[in-house]
Homo-oligomer: 210 residues x 2
DNA sequence: TGGCGGGCTAAACGATCGTTCGGGTAGCAT
DNA sequence: ATGCTACCCGAACGATCGTTTAGCCCGCCA
């Protein structure tokens, strides 16, 4: 596994990067000063720019680090839906250190965000097609839209996790997503409406006034 | 309807507020200078702080304006799910000017965001309970969690709209949400899995390794 | 042993930040 | 006419920003 901020024996360069990831995620990129990162890493402000060229270079390094990590996690993903469920809880915990940074990136419209979203969505698309062949999930009239929808809802939960936690009255942390995944599973299993016809009526009503 | 940035005959104070809403939403709070807002509104930097006391006061005014607007829209909400669907498309278009500001607020963990999320989620909860009584939707083992989940997924689509649009290859705008609402309706109507038992198996599998 | 490159610090640069201040002008009441 | 109030400008303040520069220290190679 790639280095995380929890590790103690990192290169100075990696330590700066991890502090930056934390601060950028917590306070935002513009609101975080180079001096704050330097102090947090126990180094001088000059060293930060010695290693990364500029503040933007440091951001780029953070983006790359996050992108690399998620790509590694994805590679370890099992194709079997049952087996893929096994590592899910552990993964959510493992990636907790990059959640807030990712959340900010997703609302910034950064390149990292778009590439990540595109990758996750096309991944979801192929998984869904695969499972559809096995008869596990229903076919869709709009497979691309469905995959994008599912990706967006999942990432939305990641982004809004602090609000969800506060509203539900539970401490914010990875377990919030685990808890909410039950509601998601219930929705995936049976939908929301008592009768599918109701959904179709609503969809038709929606189609009318467009 | 409350004033929107499209109106031309606003007080200087309101014009500054609307420019600030746009810039804060587009570039973020910390990255937006008072001077940029002043220039955009065609006034001096001093006037901005004359009206709002400080940059934070201006942000507060923006928060209040957004909160007021959404609250007004909510009051016009119909209780009947069918009728409520009629105004949906229009509402999404009408509130377009505050989308990016709201999106940033939701990831900032601001007070506006939390209050809004709490309101929307409890609203959803009572609507769902109401419709459940009418037999329109299935009962839930966790009504609070279900309402929070649905609220989070809906707001998640709002936040991630630019990414969705870019990935789907359509121009970013309110219609992206209208388009995606079909995928949502399909999910609400029939769920994802071909057989509800599959969802229960996955949920059980999830429960095991916690 | 002498040089040399990389990690690192301290000090300073100009730019830009939020904010303050003094004054100026138009409208309205006295 | 006078004073008051609200709206507004332009210049300036100190602080902080990202970045640059000069130089120190230490391990490695010749």
């Amino acid at each position: 596994m790639r280095s995380t901020p929890a590790d103690g024996d990192l290169t100075t360069r990696a330590r700066i990067r991890d502090v930056a990831l934390d601060r950028f995620g917590r306070d935002g990129f513009a609101a975080t000063g180079v001096r704050a990162i330097a102090t947090g890493a126990g180094v001088s402000p000059g060293l930060v720019l010695h290693h990364f060229g500029s503040k933007d270079g440091l951001r780029q390094e953070c983006d790359d680090h996050v992108a690399r990590t998620i790509r590694e996690i994805k590679q370890a993903q099992a194709a079997d839906p049952m087996a893929s469920m096994d590592g899910w809880t552990a993964k959510v915990h493992e990636l907790d250190w990059l959640r807030s940074y990712l959340s900010r990136a997703l609302t910034d419209g950064s390149d990292l965000a778009f590439r990540l979203f595109a990758e996750l969505s096309t991944d979801a698309e192929s998984y869904l097609a695969q499972w559809e062949e096995h008869g596990l999930i229903r076919p869709s009239e709009d497979p691309v839209g469905r995959a994008a929808y599912l990706t967006a809802t999942s990432l939305g939960m990641v982004v809004l996790r602090p609000l969800l936690a506060r509203h539900l009255g539970v401490p914010d942390g990875p377990d919030v997503l685990v808890h909410l995944s039950r509601a998601a599973m219930d929705m995936y299993a049976r939908g929301l409406f008592a009768d599918p016809a109701i959904g179709e009526q609503l969809a038709a009503r929606l189609e009318e006034n467009t």
